[in-house]
Each structure stands twice: as C-alpha cells, then as structure tokens.
C-alpha cells in the first residue's frame, strides 16, 4: 500500500476543521493571562473557518485516505450549519457568562473543540474516525455541562452525561469491533454483508451508540436531566449541534447502506412494524411529546421537545419502498437548529440564578408579551415553528418529511406523526399563552445585551425565511435553504 499523499485539495478539505482545532487550543491558552476576550476570539475563529468552508460548499467531492475524510456537498452543508450553530451559541453564551461573572476563555475553547469534532464526524465514512470525532465532540461537552462550579445541579448533569455518554461510546466501539470482524473493514463505504449474526449485532450496537447521542427512545432518559442541569447556552448547543452531527452520520450511513447493502441494510429491511427504525421513530416522538405535556420548567419542556423532534427526523431515515429522504432530513435539521437555538436564546435572556440554581419556570414569563413586544413576538415565532404551524421553517420541514414518507408508503407512521404534532401544539403554545394572557406585578429581569438580541433576531429571520422562501424559490437569484439542501442531497447515492 502506498503512503497517503497530501494534496492541496485535501488540505483545503480539512482546513475548516484544523482552524477550529487550532483556534480552540489558542483560546484555551489565553486563559493563562485571564483574558476576557474569549468570545471575540472564538467569533473570529468561527468566521475564518466559515470563510474557508464557503468555497467548499459549492465544490466537488474530495474523498481521501480510505474514506477517513469525505468532503462532499453534504458534509460541507452540515459543517456550515454547525458553524452557524456555534456562532449563535457564542452570541448567547457571552452575556450569560458575563452576568454570572464566569466569563473565562476555557468555555469558548471547549466549545470550539467540540465543534471541531462535529465538523469531523460529518465528513467521514471511516468508523475509527467517527469514534474519535464522537469522543472529541463529547468530552468537551461533559466538562461544559459542569462549567458553573457554583451550581451543584450542573455538576450532576455533567456526571450523568459523562457516565451515559461514555457508556454509549463503549457500546458503539464494541459494535465497530464486531463489524470489523464481520466485514474485514472499518470503512462504511466499503462494507459488504459478512457473517450475518456478527453484522446484525454490530450494526445494532453502533446504532444504539448514536441513539444515545441524539436522545432517541429507549436511550433518552439522560436528556431531560442533563438539558435541565447544564447552563442554558450549553443546553442550546447540545440540543442542536450534537443532533445535527449525529443525524448527519446516520443519514450518510443509511444512504450508503440503502445503495450498497452491507450490515446496516439488514436493519432497514422489513415494512412498517417489522422494522426496528419504525419502532424507534414512533416511540421517540410519542414519548417525547407526552412527557413534554406536563412540564412547567421550560428547559425540561424543550428537552422533551428535542426528543420528539428526533422522532420526526427518524421518519426520513426509514427507506420504506423508496430510499432515505436526505432532502427532508437536512431541511428539518436546519429548521430545527434555528428554532431551537432561538427559543433557548429567549430562555437565556429571561433566566436568572437563585443561589446558584438557574430559574427557568414558565410562570416567570407572565405579562412579558406586552411589556417586551419584540421578545414576545420572537418566542411566539419559535414556538409556532416548533409546533409546525405555517408560515415557518418548522412547518415546511415537517411538510417535506411527511409528504415524502407518504410517497414511500409509510402511511401509518405519518398518521402517528401528524397526531403527535397536533398534540405538541398544546405545550408549545403554553409559554405564548403565559406571555400574553397572564399578568403579574412581579418584575422580571430581562437581559438586554446586544448579542442576545442578535441571536434572537438571526433565529427569527432564518425561521421565517425557511417558511416563506419555498414559495420564492421560483424567483431567479433568490437563495433558498431548500436549494442548498437539494444540491447537497444530490451528493449522496
């Protein structure tokens, strides 16, 4: 075997990742002289990374080192979404850390390390690289959950996330070992079905590892507790970026399996009830939605809602009589990032700490809709988007996923999903009702910092753009999210 050659294309393909990793190292080092410029530096690093990413989004695929780096349009679109999510997280995090007197560069360093892992995980088909990237994205997150050391609940969240996260990584790794034994390769793109028992066990274990990370039933128990205990900016980052990264991998994995067979194709056989993915989708959305109904703490409510959304996304991963719905899943992921980050930005603006403990009850929002009209309006937009009501990105994402699933003959599943989405309207509209229809004299502190406002504004613009732009798609020269998504979907088989 010839030693791998490093060509300019390869350097270009890994540059966004390398910039993030080096930037993370540098920012962490600035902690030595107690720098307060972590947020600014990380914004600069993220923007440079995005700038290097730009030309790649339109470029052709670069596949190298036996699938260790796959820089095609899919991975570049996902990377761009992840970098956006990182930018929004920094915007949300800075004011929150400032007012808690906790603004240290380590936070941003860890955030960028985690983000670099995510960029890596979406651009590879090699199981070893996937494992390394999974750890690179998880380890900083474990620390970030317990970032506020005054908050005992944050520490517990870190512990819980660490134990279940590393448990799931170990399961994933054992599955990888079995797949290697069955097929003789660790490159997903080259896998052919080997020994049946080993293949099925290995594929199931690898899948469970990812189910843990995206918080799908039956591996969702950690999500509400961890999301609740972690600082709000970290929760926002976990709820969105980790899901984008892991669903990106699952998307590639199932798309490859649907095309070329291999161990994961075994999991995709069987119509409706006979398919393990079918059950995961149904259980995840139903359990998520039903549990969310009774939550009065908005962070827990959003945690269960993120479980439910993972369920909807699984709808697109079931091939049915066709193939995996790459377009629907990608669109939904993008919509999900902006609506969830936006909602968390509003939560961050309204939360406060009481003896180290973060207070985020819905009842605190009483009357704010009229006293803070823009904030109230923004929260309303995010909530109706999460509930899937037009004219928002959330509605259009659901429309794409559900209609494509109907075409693939998954009618019972779509019926369940639509019922679920109707159920979810109840709990999504509750914060809006509290915002506008109740009033108290109790003053609530609202964070008025410019970066939080910017994050909320970007969220609203993207959610509405994603909702209206599909109709504008026929106009020449108007860029649409759907257009980018379709171009990326074409990159997969």
């Amino acid at each position: 075997m010839k030693p791998p050659v490093i060509t300019p294309e390869i350097v270009q393909a890994i540059l966004p990742f390398v910039i993030l990793a080096l930037g993370a190292t540098a920012i962490t080092m600035t902690g030595i002289w107690k720098s307060k410029r972590g947020a600014l530096l990380s914004l600069i690093v993220l923007l440079i990374s995005a700038w290097k990413l730009g030309p790649l989004v339109e470029g052709g695929p670069t596949i190298t080192w036996a699938g260790a780096i796959v820089a095609d349009r899919l991975s570049m679109l996902l990377s761009a979404v992840l970098v956006c999510s990182g930018l929004l997280t920094v915007l949300i995090a800075r004011p929150v850390l400032r007012r808690e007197n906790n603004d240290r560069p380590e936070f941003y360093g860890l955030l960028l390390f985690s983000l670099s892992g995510m960029l890596l995980i979406v651009s590879t088909t090699n199981l070893l690289v996937i494992f390394l990237a999974l750890e690179l994205l998880s380890l900083p997150l474990y620390i970030l959950c317990g970032y506020n050391r005054e908050d005992a609940r944050g520490g517990e969240a870190a512990l819980k996330y660490f134990l279940l996260g590393s448990f799931s990584s170990a399961i994933f790794l054992y599955g990888t070992a079995l797949l290697f034994g069955a097929t003789g390769t660790i490159d997903l793109a080259a896998m052919v079905e080997g020994d049946r028992l080993l293949s099925i066990t290995g594929a199931l274990l690898v899948l469970s590892g990812f189910l843990f990370k995206v918080g799908a039933v039956p591996f969702h128990m950690w999500a509400p507790d961890v999301y609740d205990g972690a600082p709000t900016p970290v929760t926002s980052f976990m709820a969105t970026s980790v899901k984008v990264a892991c669903f990106g991998v699952l998307l590639r994995l199932f798309a490859l399996a649907g095309e070329a067979g291999g161990p994961f194709a075994l999991l995709m056989r069987g119509e409706n009830m006979g398919n393990v993915l079918w059950w995961i989708a149904v259980l995840t959305m139903t359990v998520g939605n039903i549990s969310a109904l009774t939550q009065s703490n908005i962070k827990r409510m959003l945690a269960f809602s993120s479980i439910a959304h993972a369920g909807y996304i699984f709808l697109g991963l079931i091939p049915g009589s066709g193939s995996v719905d790459v377009r629907g899943v990608l669109y939904y992921l993008i919509a999900y990032v902006f609506m969830t980050t936006g909602a968390f930005a509003v939560v961050a603006a309204l939360s406060s700490r009481d003896r180290g403990r973060e207070v985020t009850g819905v009842e605190r929002y009483a009357g704010l809709g009229f006293r803070r009209p823009y904030l109230g309006l923004a929260m309303t937009v995010f909530m109706i988007s999460l509930a899937g009501i037009p004219p928002t990105a959330g509605f259009f994402g659901k429309y794409l996923l559900f209609s494509s699933a109907l075409d693939r003959g998954l009618t019972p599943l779509v019926v369940i999903a639509v019922l679920n989405s109707a159920l979810s309207v109840y709990y999504y509209l509750r914060p809006v009702v509290v915002f506008y229809m109740r009033d108290t004299d109790r003053p609530v502190q609202v964070d008025d910092s410019i970066t939080l406002k910017l994050a909320v504004f970007i969220g609203v613009v993207c959610v509405l753009w994603g909702g209206f732009a599909p109709d504008l798609g026929s106009l020449p020269g108007v860029p649409t999210i759907l257009g980018w998504v379709e171009a990326s979907a074409a990159a997969l088989p």
Partner: protein, 100 residues
C-alpha cells in the same frame, strides 16, 4: 495458540461484565472502571479479528482507543473529584438533585 473463538468469548464476557457493572454498581469509581472494561473488551475484539484476518486496521484502532480511554478517564475522574468536593461521597444514589 488458542483459537479465535476463545479470545472472542473472553472479550464478550468482559464486555458483559462491564455493562452489568455500569448498570448495577452504585460506586462511581467502580462504574468508571466498568466503562474502561468495556473499552478494553472492544480492544481485545479488534486485536483478535485483526490477527485472525491478517488485517492491520484493527490493531491500529486499538492504539487510538487506548489514547481516547485515557482522555476519557481524565475527564471522568475530574468530574468525580469536583462532585466529591461538594458532597463528600462517590455513591451514585446520593446525586438526586436533578429529579426535583
């Protein structure tokens, strides 16, 4: 030399012991050790398959996993120490604030 199956059985046993340990033990340090056991079970499986098939990939994976396991243990122990300073216990059942 023992046949491949025996090595695989040992590694499967290690993996199951690790799994049961994580799920049933209440001492945080024992849980951490169980997780390490699971990672090492995977390592043994990789090495076994690599040797049986003559492919070097599996053995390369093992090196990476050893490094990652060390990093994971460092982070895990740091979290445990941070919590121990607050609560003076390493019993998992005492960490119950998140359910309230």
């Amino acid at each position: 030399m023992a046949p491949t199956e025996q090595y695989l059985l040992v590694s499967a046993a290690l993996f199951v012991i690790g799994c049961v340990g994580v799920l049933s033990r209440r001492n945080l340090l024992v849980v951490l050790m169980s997780i390490e056991l699971m990672l090492n079970a995977a390592n043994l499986t990789f090495a076994t398959f690599a040797r049986a098939s003559g492919l070097i990939d599996g053995q390369i994976v093992v090196f990476f996993v050893i490094a990652v396991a060390a990093a994971e243990a460092a982070v895990g122990l740091a979290i445990v120490v941070a919590l121990f300073r607050k609560k003076e216990t390493v019993n998992l059942d005492r960490f119950t604030m998140l359910h309230q």
